[in-house]
């Protein structure tokens, strides 16, 4: 086989790999659609419960007023979250969200570097019964660790792509 023929064979093999890439992307997206669908279904249940509590006033007067406006079609959770709703109750809830997010930030920071395989951290208070700490559950810590590994893996490939010498052919 001549050198040119070998190159053509290589190019054909690369073409075949491109077709494999399509198949793998399809497979990955099927999984994304499946899990995304499950998440949306869970959110719908969660919304129903939240709306029920809000209408009863269990979540406070601001949520009650906002729920009335949501029910009337005057606003939406998305408008409230994204800051499009400038009503005083929406502004108040977004301020409340900042407080809640500070707690989430702490939970995430505490879980950083933990792959979720260990037991939840335990708080020992002298004289008090041992109680589980309020750390993120193992699946959340495992998801964080998996994303970190995926990021590192991608960066390694990107580095290799950058280092392929593209000769000046002029």
């Amino acid at each position: 086989m001549s050198h040119e023929d070998e190159l053509l064979a290589e190019a054909r093999a690369a073409l075949a790999e491109l077709h494999e890439a399509f198949a793998e992307i399809d497979e990955l997206m099927t999984e994304v659609v499946r899990s995304g669908g499950q998440d949306l279904a869970q959110d719908a249940e969660r919304d129903e419960e939240r709306a029920r509590l809000a209408r009863r006033g269990d979540l406070g007067p601001q949520w009650r007023r906002l729920q009335e406006r949501i029910d009337a079609g005057d606003t939406s959770l998305s408008s409230i979250a994204r800051g499009h709703d400038m009503s005083s109750e929406a502004v108040d809830l977004r301020a409340q969200a900042h407080v809640g997010l500070a707690e989430l930030t702490r939970l995430v920071r505490d879980a950083d570097g933990d792959d979720g395989s260990a037991e939840l951290p335990v708080i020992h208070i002298k004289g008090a019964p041992t109680a589980p700490g309020r750390g993120l559950p193992p699946q959340a810590r495992a998801a964080m660790a998996e994303a970190k590994a995926a990021q590192a893996s991608l960066e390694a490939v990107m580095q290799r792509v950058r280092q392929i010498p593209v000769a000046d052919l002029d």
Partner: protein
């Protein structure tokens, strides 16, 4: 006596070889759409997860794919040009006997035909290589588009999750202020989606790695075309095509 006639006007193919227009720059639209999807919620990922979604999941595939489209067209033009040249040399290899001395003593016809046949075959090879390269670039653009479509969906789900996190953070009593398990649901969801997006980007990165490596070798062999083309057309018609490996890297946005 029959004269040598140029079977195909080469100018037709070479002229478009110089600067064909590309219309494959889907990345700008992708970037714009993701910016809209994440508008108003991007800060949540930065603040709570110390993760920049645009920087890590959107910008990596926002390279100059349009340039790659131009390269593809250049390769197709090059294929056409090579086939034309191949055909012309083939014609010359089959010139009638009357061109040469008719007493059968002249050895020139045999040598000439053999040489013309070889050149025709070489250009046939170049045409195949150019066609394959165009196919590679074409498929790579399609893979890029498929990845961008997939990433758009993932980004929309991440955007939903971030929206949801703001809402949950604003719920007193039953929110995660009351329990880290609740927060865990959204943390898990966010990072799972990020992992899927990263895997998708890695898939296209590995594909690009393979394609750039092969193109680099193929283009090196085709480099001799530039000299040949300069001879035929007085211009460096292969310039766009020769830049393809660099254009592939640019398509992925990994070069400056």
């Amino acid at each position: 006596m029959s004269g040598v006639v140029e079977r195909t006007a080469l100018g037709e193919n070479w002229s478009v070889c110089l600067a064909p227009e590309g219309n494959d720059d889907f990345a700008k639209e992708f970037e714009g759409n993701c910016g809209l999807l994440l508008g108003g919620v991007l800060w949540v990922a930065r603040e709570a997860f110390h993760y920049d979604v645009m920087e890590n999941l959107v910008y990596p595939i926002c390279g100059d794919w349009g340039q790659l489209g131009v390269a593809r067209s250049a390769w197709l033009s090059l294929q056409g040009g090579c086939l034309d040249i191949s055909g012309n040399f083939d014609e010359m290899a089959n010139l009638p006997e009357t061109v040469w001395a008719d007493d059968g003593t002249d050895k020139t016809p045999t040598a000439f035909r053999a040489r013309m046949g070889t050149v025709a075959a070489n250009f046939g090879h170049y045409a195949s290589a150019s066609e394959l390269t165009a196919q590679l670039v074409d498929n790579l653009i399609e893979v890029g588009k498929a990845a961008a479509e997939g990433l758009s969906l993932i980004i929309s789900l991440i955007s939903e999750t971030l929206e949801r996190i703001i809402i949950e953070a604003a719920i007193p009593v039953v929110g995660w202020i009351a329990g880290a398990v609740e927060a865990g649901v959204f943390v898990t969801r966010f990072w799972n989606m990020v992992t899927k997006a990263l895997k998708l980007i890695e898939r296209i990165a590995r594909t690009i790695e393979k394609v750039v490596t092969v193109l680099q070798r193929v283009v090196r062999v085709l480099k001799c075309l530039k000299t040949t083309l300069a001879f035929f057309n007085g211009t460096l018609a292969g310039a766009n095509a020769a830049n393809t490996p660099g254009a592939v890297q640019h398509g992925f946005g990994v070069t400056a």
